[in-house]
């Protein structure tokens, strides 16, 4: 869990496009990043990768060991948007080992694509990707 005092200093990191949004939050369990809507534009990485980079920088600063990635309000994510999660995993893999942290994906069984997508992502981000939820 991140240092609780960090919550008070956490900047308002967010992106909001016409069909989707993402923002960094903080709850009793630690840092939580929420994704909402439908990520289906031709190249969402242009928007999402800088957001992921900024979140990553703040997670490193907070010395958090885990971040919850909340997909429960994400209707769909196309393969181009999926790459932003791959980008995030790669950023973590490139960080010095003591600073590396886990991405705990929170999903919902209402969105069946999340189960298979997270299965694949967990095979790519072994030791980094974990999952919780009812999938």
């Amino acid at each position: 869990m991140a240092n609780p005092s960090f919550a008070g200093r956490m900047p308002a990191l967010q992106v909001a496009e016409e069909k989707y949004s993402a923002h960094l939050g903080f709850d009793p369990q630690g840092i939580r990043v929420h994704f909402r809507g439908t990520i289906s534009t031709p190249n969402p990485a242009v928007v999402l990768n800088p957001f992921v980079d900024a979140v990553h920088a703040h997670v490193l600063e907070a010395a958090a060991k885990e971040v919850r990635v909340d997909l429960t309000q994400l209707e769909f994510c196309n393969s181009s948007g999926f790459k932003s999660f791959i980008h995030w995993i790669e950023r973590i893999q490139k960080a010095p080992e003591p600073k590396q942290y886990r991405l705990r994906f929170v999903s919902t069984k209402e969105r069946k694509w999340q189960r298979t997508s997270l299965l694949a992502l967990s095979c790519y981000g072994v030791n980094i990707v974990t999952m919780e939820g009812t999938i």
Partner: protein, 175 residues
């Protein structure tokens, strides 16, 4: 299958055909519609989300290649033959067709769909678009992909069983 064959076998596949000019904004609606359509056409098969994902990715690939011309989507479901097939066709250049054919051939040479998908995640830079869609359809939607060319159009077909085997469970901690 001809109509006569249908009468002989008692198999009447359910078909959906949509032809559209390709603004991106329609792809979300198409995904939602095909998910509902598939749920109605094959209730209880739990296949609609995978079909919808495949439709989205295949249409997303086709739209830029079509250069503003129409894209055609055919969805066919047969409970009798235990098959679901998605065909997306659009006009495309010889160069685009050759490149697509090579990519699909290369993909199908790897028998493990998940291994190829993970390989493509490594190979395709995360800051560029494209490169993952076909591998995603093959693994996540559990559909085999082929491509052919007819009368100046490329036809990408994703086909598989209606009663697909369930993928391994997820939810554990890795590492």
């Amino acid at each position: 299958m001809s109509l006569l064959d249908c009468f002989r076998t008692g198999d009447f596949p359910i078909q959906l055909l949509i032809r559209m000019s390709p603004p991106w904004v329609f792809i979300d609606e198409l995904r939602r519609f095909t998910e509902s359509f598939c749920a109605c056409a094959c209730p209880g098969q739990d296949r609609e989300a995978q079909v919808a994902l495949a439709v989205h990715e295949l249409m997303q690939n086709a739209v830029p290649q079509a250069h503003g011309e129409e894209v055609e989507l055919m969805l066919e479901v047969s409970r009798e033959r235990d098959v679901v097939a998605i065909r997306v066709s659009n006009r495309c250049s010889d160069e685009d067709y050759q490149a697509l054919r090579d990519r699909i051939q290369h993909m199908n040479e790897e028998p493990d769909a998940l291994a190829h998908y993970v390989h493509m995640m490594r190979e395709n830079p995360a800051n560029t678009r494209g490169g993952l869609g076909l591998a995603r359809v093959r693994f996540e939607a559990q559909l085999e992909i082929s491509v052919r060319r007819e009368a100046g159009r490329v036809i990408v077909e994703a086909c598989g069983p209606l009663r697909a085997p369930r993928l391994p469970a997820v939810g554990g901690t890795h590492g």
